[in-house]
Symmetry: C2
DNA sequence: TGCTGGCGCGGTAACGTTCCCATGACGTAC
DNA sequence: GTACGTCATGGGAACGTTACCGCGCCAGCA
């Protein structure tokens, strides 16, 4: 009657059509108790008939829970973060929540703006890979959140999900040792990232356990990009070296760049130079040779972060730090020197 | 006074602190007219003091505009779609809107669920790459939307943003002809995708213009994945062929798979077999040889789709179809035969 | 028979915002 | 001096939902 033509049906329309009050209609649709099966059915049918769909904005206003989660990552076009986003997305959908996705480009100002947007959208909580050193904005965030990725370690008080870098580095080191390599040269990220510190600490620890002086390791740094890896590798190649060089890159993009630089220099990978990466991005498979790498469980990280966020939201104050194990993906960019016979090209090329 | 401890400040708190009514406070903060500069300043200061942030849920209820947009794409971990998402994200942020991102996995049921979620979240509109043939759910969607990608063409009534497949195919064909190749073999997507039809139509048209009978083109199909391309290439190689083969893949992932299959068969790319792709995903650069490809402007597509969506939302009924031009990225997976046999045209590359 | 309690249902308030309308003060024109 | 227009401000309603409270009914029990 008062139903204007172009309006979405509300619960009042449903109630009118079912001949009940809106309270009853609400009870029927939310599955509350104290309602006759007969009435419930009547309401459900009416709802279907008018094409009713609950208005989450109104529910959010009333209940204080918007059913939305935020995700703030460095860049959705980075394959690793896309995996994380996908894991989070699926896990959120499982619980009937939606995901607001933002890319910060490692930029403090952008991150702050995104956090503000999330607050204004009244998300129930957020998963954040914080830009280095941006303590202030996180302190002020004011909503439940879970940290994801390497930067988590600085925030003692908050839940976090990351990969077990120490275990991952060990996996990589053990692998290259088992293939007959000695201490690797390193390509690491820029100075101001915690990821770099964690990677280096793990490498050093592992070296010491094997009575290797970490100081002998050659190291170059670069941005966490293909170009960064390429340049770092060039500098590494410019140094004097004898024999087969093995390079452990702290990130797959850099590792791929390193392989490109090797080829550029007229050398072969893995025959002349072996490369092992860290991340496990799918496109590592496309490289030639396929990138041998330590894979972080990106998708699972996203999923577990959402799980953790939900318990955070429900005030289970179980502030937990989760470190998921990494696994080794062997593809072909690391030569097998353990057999004394020389490398065979075919041996390196399996997929 | 009535301000409970753990509640976010509302406009009423601001008004109380500024000593005005909530109407005045609202006027001051929305930048409306009819307000003394003095009062406005007082309110703004009070807002800053209590840390007020506008509740978008409430604004959405009142105004009917939630400030959120939906994005439904096949898979955020697909590099091309990640680019699109990023473009949409940035453009939405420009207008102060947030983006809800969903992955449909080319699954009709998932897509339907996502569209329902978007309606319930009361997004202002959505950008959708629809799963093939899912007319019904789109018809019933009931909100402004813009289509993105190849499936758009089936929906005459709706705005859409895509790449100019015809121009892109021409770019690719011209390039391979200019490099001395003849009619290419094709690797295309599954039967029920419109993208396949458009790709094929463009190829055929181009052939006819060059007096080539499209029927002579060898063709294999596969899923739009690396594995799909690999298998298609294997089948292509299993056919009898003479001389250098050139393969035009309808998608970069398939093209990369094709290169892998070539290597697998003990052949070399581009020396024995040339491959050209379509999409322009960044990881095409990592492949060896680097993938020569026709690049769609993914990021710009996302941005333009958001622009179009806004004019759609504001009832500018300018139902427009935008086709953005592709560009060629030359990397190395296509051999240059022009030096050896400048005028080789048809027949040279048949499989 | 009368009281109690459980149950199904309806009315209403509240979430936070914005917009419309009313009010009152002031200035201006007759 | 009165009438009227302008403008800053306040009051209240509305967006759609759900939780709380109260009412009437019926069964069970003293």
């Amino acid at each position: 009657m008062s139903k204007r033509r172009n309006r979405r049906p509300t619960i009042i329309d449903v109630a009118e059509r079912a001949g009940v009050s809106k309270s009853t209609a609400a009870r029927a649709l939310t599955g509350s108790s104290n309602i006759t099966e007969e009435t419930r059915e009547k309401v459900v049918k009416a709802a279907a008939a008018v094409g009713y769909e609950r208005n989450h904005l109104a529910v959010g206003m009333r209940s204080g829970r918007s059913g939305m989660l935020g995700l703030v990552i460095p860049d959705i076009t980075n394959p690793f973060w896309a995996e994380v986003a996908r894991g989070a997305q699926d896990q959120a959908a499982e619980a009937g929540s939606s995901l607001l996705v933002f890319s910060s480009d490692w930029d403090v100002a952008k991150e702050a703006a995104h956090l503000r947007a999330l607050r204004q959208a009244r998300v129930d909580g957020a998963i954040i890979n914080p830009v280095a050193d941006n303590f202030d904005d996180l302190d002020r965030f004011g909503l439940p959140f879970v940290l994801i990725g390497s930067s988590a370690e600085r925030f003692v008080e908050t839940s976090s999900v990351g990969s077990d870098i120490t275990q991952g580095v060990r996996l990589g080191m053990d692998h290259l040792v088992s293939k007959g390599h000695g201490a690797p040269s390193l390509i690491v990220g820029p100075k101001n990232r915690l990821a770099r510190v964690r990677f280096l600490r793990a490498v050093h620890q592992h070296c010491i356990e094997r009575d290797i002086d970490p100081a002998i390791l050659a190291m170059e740094e670069g941005e966490y990009t293909v170009e960064g890896g390429k340049q770092a590798m060039r500098r590494l190649l410019a140094r004097d070296h004898v024999g087969h060089v093995c390079v452990f890159a702290a990130n797959d993009m850099m590792a791929i760049g390193a392989i490109m630089a090797v080829r550029e220099a007229g050398l072969r990978c893995p025959e002349d130079i072996s490369v092992i990466g860290f991340d496990g991005i799918p496109s590592g498979e496309f490289a030639w040779p396929g990138l041998t790498t330590v894979a972080k469980p990106g998708r699972e990280m996203g999923a577990r972060a959402v799980e953790g966020l939900f318990s955070e939201i429900e005030h289970q104050p179980e502030h937990r730090r989760i470190y998921l194990p990494c696994r080794l993906i062997e593809r072909g960019s690391l030569a097998d020197l353990s057999a004394h016979a020389p490398q065979r090209v075919a041996g390196a090329g399996r997929v």
